[in-house]
């Protein structure tokens, strides 16, 4: 029988398209002695089979390969990798920026104590510090009255001679010394107070910046995990498509085998 399929041809080289094309288009002569109706039936059957196979694999058969689907997956993977790299880069920049902010905070906190200590020195010279320790105790008018009742003699003037304005004298009389600390004590207390305030500020700033960096790390970790999951999904999809392709080629070879058997039976 002529124009039969050569046995040396490998099944892998056959495609559905090839098989459909090989079906004889006219009867008689050296072609298969198969009625035209039968040929049409087989062609229809092949077409239906092709449609079902295409539905099964979820893509279009092009030269017996699922090229379009594979291309789509590869493109998707590439796009996802690009996106995830972009996100990682943004997060790295955010973390770096946060570290810059941290270093600025620490610099500011170092500067603040210097500035505030300068201010406090000026203030302590000019302002009353209300506290429990006073450097001197101003006597009341009763004490002066007791002095008045005695004979008062000046021994010597000494070094304690000062000139004061009228306003200063007025203030000295009205304020007295009871609220005045010695200058050493006032500086010490102010310094201690400032030191504890600055320490608290530093701790607060450190805590805030630590919270921010922790949060950013968590976000980065979540993105990494989601990227890994997506990668896994894509790989699974790829594997299932490969399996489908294998099944398809097996079906094709099976169809070929069945059809050739039918042909053999029919010719007999």
């Amino acid at each position: 029988m002529e124009t039969k399929l050569e046995n040396t041809e490998k099944v892998e080289n056959l495609t559905l398209g090839n098989l459909v094309d090989r079906m004889p288009k006219k009867t008689g002569g050296k072609a298969f002695l198969i009625p035209k109706l039968f040929i049409l039936r087989i062609r229809n059957k092949w077409r239906k089979m092709k449609t079902r196979l295409e539905e099964f694999i979820g893509g279009e058969l092009v030269n017996n390969s699922i090229e379009k689907k594979e291309n789509n997956i590869d493109k998707k993977i590439e796009a996802w990798e690009e996106y995830s790299n972009k996100v990682r880069e943004e997060l790295r920049n955010a973390v770096a920026e946060n570290e810059e902010i941290n270093s600025e905070f620490s610099q500011e906190n170092e500067e603040i104590p210097k500035e505030s200590s300068k201010k406090n020195n000026n203030i302590s010279q000019n302002k009353v510090n209300i506290n429990n320790i006073s450097a001197a105790l101003t006597y009341s008018k009763d004490k002066i009255e007791k002095l008045r009742q005695k004979e008062i003699r000046i021994n010597k003037k000494g070094l304690g001679i000062f000139t004061l304005s009228a306003l200063a004298i007025k203030k000295l009389i009205s304020n007295g010394f009871n609220k005045i600390k010695s200058s050493k004590e006032s500086k010490k207390v102010t310094k201690e107070k400032n030191a504890s305030e600055e320490k608290n500020k530093k701790l607060m700033n450190k805590k805030t910046s630590n919270d921010i960096s922790e949060l950013l790390k968590k976000i980065l970790e979540e993105y990494r995990r989601s990227n890994e999951l997506e990668q896994q999904k894509l790989e699974e999809t790829k594997r299932s498509n490969e399996l489908k392709e294998q099944i398809l080629s097996m079906l094709v070879s099976l169809q070929y085998t069945q059809e050739s058997e039918r042909e053999n039976n029919y010719t007999k």
Partner: protein, 88 residues
């Protein structure tokens, strides 16, 4: 000197005079009493001359001794400055 605290004192020359008391206080660093007073003398800048003396109570009489220790003088000077600059 009406409305002000005044004292009658005898100066180094034995002359009696009335002075205005600006402050009578005890210094806690050494426990001594001091008196700041003025004779209301004005200098060329229009400022009032004041004197600070240690008060020594001898029972029936009181002696106003001049301060010779510069540290005490500085301490009192610092206190005066603070009192003047304090908020009322």
């Amino acid at each position: 000197m009406e409305g002000k605290e005044t004292l009658n004192i005898i100066d180094e020359n034995g002359v009696k005079k009335e002075v205005e008391v600006l402050s009578y206080f005890k210094l806690k660093s050494n426990g001594k009493d001091y008196l700041i007073y003025t004779e209301n003398q004005i200098d060329e800048n229009g400022n009032v001359l004041t004197y600070t003396s240690e008060v020594v109570d001898n029972g029936d009489s009181v002696e106003l001794k001049g301060i010779e220790d510069p540290e005490i003088v500085n301490e009192i000077k610092e206190l005066i400055l603070q009192a003047i600059n304090a908020e009322e």
